[in-house]
């Protein structure tokens, strides 16, 4: 993939941070607002795709590294399974942190309320784990497919 014009690169520089912050917002606020790990991860991965398209696969290699994404993906899935196992004192996937008083342990106000970040028990932690997994999984897919497209084009030209 070739890099695009200077206008596209400038706009991508400008928008990249906002897309990242929006995606992380969706992930972290998954237990309060519509969205969650999967949706926020997809939004964040779209920011990586934007960088890849605008800067080209050669230039974007400096800040999008496939191995780091791959590591984060495995870490996210493992963290999710570990969080699921951590409630094993009662059942698998038991939400033992909810209404407990410590981390994310406040009781939610019943009914319509503006929302408290410190509620939800394991749900925000699982959202973060799944979000990490999804964003790095889609990042790996995008990076590898860009590499494969480059490879096939080179092969067709030769």
């Amino acid at each position: 993939m070739k890099e695009m014009s200077k206008i596209v690169k400038t706009v991508a520089n400008f928008v990249y941070g906002f897309i990242l912050i929006y995606g992380f917002y969706i992930i972290v606020h998954g237990h309060l607002t519509p969205g969650g790990g999967f949706q926020g991860g997809a939004v964040t991965a779209s920011a990586f795709a934007l960088i890849l398209v605008s800067y080209g696969s050669v230039n974007s290699k400096k800040f999008l590294k496939k191995d780091i994404f791959s590591l984060f993906e495995s870490f996210g899935l493992t963290l999710f399974i570990l969080l699921a196992f951590s409630g094993l004192g009662i059942t698998f996937f038991y939400n033992f942190l909810a209404n407990y008083g410590s981390w994310f342990g406040d009781a939610a106000v019943i009914g319509v309320n503006p929302g408290n970040m410190n509620t939800g028990g394991l749900i925000p932690l699982m959202n973060m784990a799944v979000g990490l997994e999804v964003l790095s999984a889609l990042g790996v897919i995008v990076l590898i497919m860009a590499k494969g497209a480059e490879f096939t084009r080179k092969k067709e030209n030769s």
Binding site: E73, L77, K147, F151
Partner: protein
């Protein structure tokens, strides 16, 4: 001949769709409401999360989410295995 067969098949299929659309229940009135009512009444109290959908996805139906995450992981493994010969 082929066109007539396709037209007849399409008409039958379309009439089935129309009949089922006419006989559909009105929106928001399922036949069994026990489960929905349970989630709406107790989800906020039990999980402490405001978003009932997230509390279903990550708490009540956690196995489903585990499967989804595994499917995504498997997809990535498949893509990596497909492009394994690509250097640089």
């Amino acid at each position: 001949m082929k066109k007539i067969i396709f037209a007849v098949a399409f008409l039958i299929f379309f009439s089935f769709l129309m009949v089922s659309a006419i006989n559909m229940r009105t929106f928001g009135e399922p036949t069994i409401t026990k489960m929905d009512d349970y989630f709406i009444e107790n989800a906020q109290k039990e999980t402490g999360a405001n978003n009932v959908v997230t509390s279903i996805v990550f708490d009540y139906r956690g196995f489903d989410t585990l499967g989804e995450a595994t499917v995504l992981f498997t997809a990535v493994v498949g893509v990596v295995a497909l492009f394994r010969g690509v250097k640089k």
